[in-house]
Symmetry: C2
Subunit: 185 residues, 2 copies
């Protein structure tokens, strides 16, 4: 991967850039031929560099997921876990809703290919943030990491059907906090 021919390295970069753009717009649904054309490259060239469309998708998306994970780890030591958790939650939703590739990736964050390195890191960091927020009493205790991931997927669906409506995520955030009357009965 380092001692590639110059044109190969160039094409690989072009494919990655095109894939990032195309996946961001239409998610996994974008035909691979479109990516190849956008990159100014033949379909065969794409497959020389990535064994499958799915692998290309992972390559594009895992970097961003890793960014999310690092961001979460950096926030894990904050002294106000409640606010930090909410801010992080909202930020992840907002970022993802602007990028269909991340939506599609996060949507199956309970699933198959997400067990890989970056995915697992993200899960662990998210769990950490959640646990601390719960310990601080800022988030209801009756949900776990998987619940939270499902809620993220749900928020992304909401965002898809009512784009740009920030306050709907707020609805979920408020529900996450918990309501006194309901908790006691």
């Amino acid at each position: 991967m380092e001692k590639m021919r110059a044109d190969a390295r160039r094409n690989r970069a072009k494919v990655l850039a095109a894939a990032e753009e195309a996946f961001a717009l239409d998610g996994l649904a974008v035909p691979l031929d479109d990516i190849a054309r956008l990159a100014g490259v033949g379909a065969g060239t794409v497959y020389r560099h990535f064994p499958s469309k799915e692998a290309l998708f992972q390559a594009v998306v895992l970097e961003r997921i890793q960014q999310f994970a690092e961001e979460a780890r950096a926030l894990a030591t904050a002294e106000n876990p409640g606010e930090v958790f909410v801010d992080y939650f909202v930020r992840v939703i907002k970022q993802a809703s602007l990028n269909r590739a991340i939506c599609d990736a996060l949507a199956e964050s309970g699933g198959h290919a997400f067990k890989a390195g970056a995915g697992e890191e993200f899960r662990a960091a998210l769990d950490e943030l959640l646990t601390r927020a719960q310990a601080a009493g800022a988030v209801r205790p009756d949900i776990d990491g998987d619940d939270l991931r499902a809620l993220i997927a749900g928020c992304l669906a909401v965002e898809r059907y009512a784009p740009g409506s920030r306050h709907l995520v707020r609805v979920v955030v408020d529900g996450l906090r918990g309501v006194a009357e309901v908790q006691t009965r």
Copy 2:
């Protein structure tokens, strides 16, 4: 449609029954050939009775949507709009999560083919329930019918990723109610 040949009427019923079963299981994604095979019928026969797969889907689903609409209308005169609204919301989610056809239909309840009769009735009745619940102070005032539909779609996504977790819908319901601390600032 009434003076059809006996075998035609029989086949039409078989197709509808098969479609109901197949769509309920896999939603719109089920291949039409599967429905035909399940009905013990050729693909051509399906197209004799319904102009397209989409039309067949609508025929199957619109009946249930109409049931939802009628149910909502019946509840519109209740004297406890808050509880009624929440119960209805939860019931719709639960019913839909057991039937992928309804999921797929509700998921685009903000969209195209839903402008038809039953879809519009459902929308109107849902809006009515929401408005009354808001007037009773049981639901935060800063959301409208479209927001609510988006939240339903979101809940269905949640349900898909964390099946059978009743309390996650509760999270959204609580958020819908609104949280005092948040509302006041």
